[in-house]
């Protein structure tokens, strides 16, 4: 009982996810700033922003559904935190079971659907536009992402992330065999996190802040936390699936290597948002279905043929 509570509340549960989320956000903002010749925020800035939002007045336009507006961010937070418990950290996974990869992918989709609903219920034109866009974007990146993520599972012959992660000690990191799949997964992750260049649902110059235009105060703070933890879980997931070194390097180095890889992933995401312009939604749909899906299927075919 005490052990389970520790797993849920401290590590790898809520506290650890929150701290990682703040650190990743800070590191991302610092990197972006350096790319742009700015100094960037100090280390406590994400926490300070969160506290400031907590102290702000919480307003919603008349006509918005108050209950749904409060429930949606909490449901999303619950979903991403649950997903966080199931992702192994450097080989450590207290709650692993066969098929948890599918559960995590499903749980990570909950915030996107909640984001869409948040746009519909908050009674603003930009929110409706942003919500519609988030759903369109979901249909463009989700299929290639799922097909790409099934590559490591097929290769390892298991749908448990811990199995996939540990089998790489024998077979070698999967990124060497599935480079295309890895790139597709990164693109899918960028789409899932609504990060630039795929920040179409919340493009400032087009739809102000998308679904979250009318949100403020505590609700916005929770939404931001959801996005942060979604990023943490997504990055840990990709590191586990494609480049798990925990069984290869010495046990002492397993944790540092894991976090180094995660930080490298943030670097990749930051660089992508620095060098690419935001795509239009029709361009993204074209890219998703004409380029990413065929590539993902091709990668899967290669993986299956390798196994035969």
């Amino acid at each position: 009982m005490a052990e389970s509570l520790f797993y849920l509340l401290i590590f790898p549960g809520i506290s650890f996810q929150l701290v990682c989320g703040w650190f990743f956000e800070w590191f991302d903002r610092k990197l972006q700033a350096r790319f742009q010749r700015r100094v960037g925020p100090r280390w406590f800035q994400p926490l300070a922003d969160l506290l400031k939002l907590f102290s702000k007045e919480d307003l919603l336009p008349s006509g918005a559904n108050e209950f749904a507006a409060a429930a949606l961010p909490l449901v999303s937070l619950g979903a991403v935190l649950t997903a966080g418990v199931y992702v192994p950290i450097a080989g450590f996974s207290p709650a692993s079971f066969e098929g948890d990869l599918i559960v995590i992918v499903f749980l990570l989709s909950v915030p996107t659907l909640a984001y869409y609903l948040a746009g519909i219920i908050s009674a603003g034109i930009y929110s409706v536009l942003g919500g519609g866009r988030s759903l369109l974007q979901f249909f463009s990146y989700e299929v290639p992402l799922l097909v790409a993520l099934s590559g490591p599972a097929v290769m390892a012959g298991s749908w448990s992330i811990r199995e996939i992660s540990s089998i790489q000690a024998e077979m070698g990191p999967f990124i060497l065999f599935q480079p295309i799949g890895f790139i597709l997964a990164v693109v899918g992750l960028i789409g899932k996190l609504k990060r630039s260049p795929l920040d179409i649902p919340k493009a400032k110059s087009e739809v102000v802040a998308g679904s979250l235009t009318e949100f403020g105060g505590v609700k916005l703070a929770i939404w931001n936390t959801v996005m942060n933890i979604q990023a943490v879980v997504g990055i840990f997931l990709l590191v586990n699936l494609y480049s798990s070194w925990s069984g290869i390097v010495a046990p002492v180095l397993a944790v540092p290597v894991f976090f180094l890889e995660s930080v490298l992933m943030i670097f990749v995401l930051s660089a992508a948002s620095a060098v690419f312009a935001r795509l239009r939604i029709d361009q993204l749909a074209g890219l998703g279905w004409k380029v990413l899906v065929p590539l993902a299927l091709l990668q899967l075919l290669v993986v299956i043929l390798m196994g035969v």
Binding site: S205, R278, R280, I281
Partner: protein
Amino acid sequence: MDKMNIPIGPQHPLLKEPLRLNIEISGERVLGGILRLGYVHRGIEKLAQTRNYNQNVSLTERVCGICSHVHTTTFCRAVEALLGLELPERVHYIRALMCEMERIHSHLLWLGILAKHIGLEMVFMHTWHDRESILDVMEELSGGRVAHAVNQIGGVRFDLDEDHGPMVDSTVKKLKVDYEELLDVIEHDTTLKARTQGIAPLSAEDMKKYCVVGPVARASGVDVDMRRDDPMPPYDKLDFQVITHPDGDAWSRTYVRLQEIRQSLHLCKQIIDDIPEGPISVRAPRKVPAGEVVMRSEAPRGELFYYLRSDGSEYPARLKIRTPTLPALGILPEQLSEIHIADIPVVLAGIDLCIACADR
């Protein structure tokens, strides 16, 4: 899908200056837009009639926050034409130098805004960093970053000393290097081209129909440039090209403005090399003889038009300012149809609206 109206402005993250667009959409398609102006109307033309000519130099400086120098230059040239003043050569060179630096910083500012609108924050920050070095030079020369207070009727208010020439020279050299990098991004970045190429192209006939001037018209292949067509003094002795592009879309506007930065850097270099020695002002009487005059110059956004009528007193009888943004606003409704919502920022940025100029 049902039709919806989305309001853009007067306050919106897209806009740097107040303007209202009521855009009708269906899904992600834009069906049309209605424009409303006048949020920054300050009555400058009427105000000018209650100020004397010297005071009006300061007033016209405040028409625009970006191209303030070219406004005072045009106004002073109009008054000087009525007075029949012969200015020393050095005055023309100093005015032209400031004009060209203003064009460079205006175009860099614009490029940054376009990049920001399409999600290229890095290009935004880098162009504005380059722009700072030009603003530093302008501040060093004149004392002002935005309102430079360079002109007075009959001359300019500061002289270049021996340090200023090398300073302009080194900044021009540095900017030429940065410029090549920017040009590389604009010419080769796939996502930037995907967002700007083929967006709401307008033909040269459309441009002529709406009397559009400046880089927007030149990007549609209309070969107009007041520096060449109606040159104020130093430009007839200087060597530069008028850049045109046949496509008329947002990308060609970007390309034209970038090439114009190169021409302006080239002009700055020539001005610094060729500037003659001599006095920097002549004495001008307070009263201006009766008469009327039209003066045109090439502002960063195109032809700037000043009409001035004097009744022989210390105060102008009428001052009419037509800024290049005013005709450009006319093509906006035409462009805002059959595009995506995501193209609205590109279209708006492509025109390089200066609402303060247009509203006066």
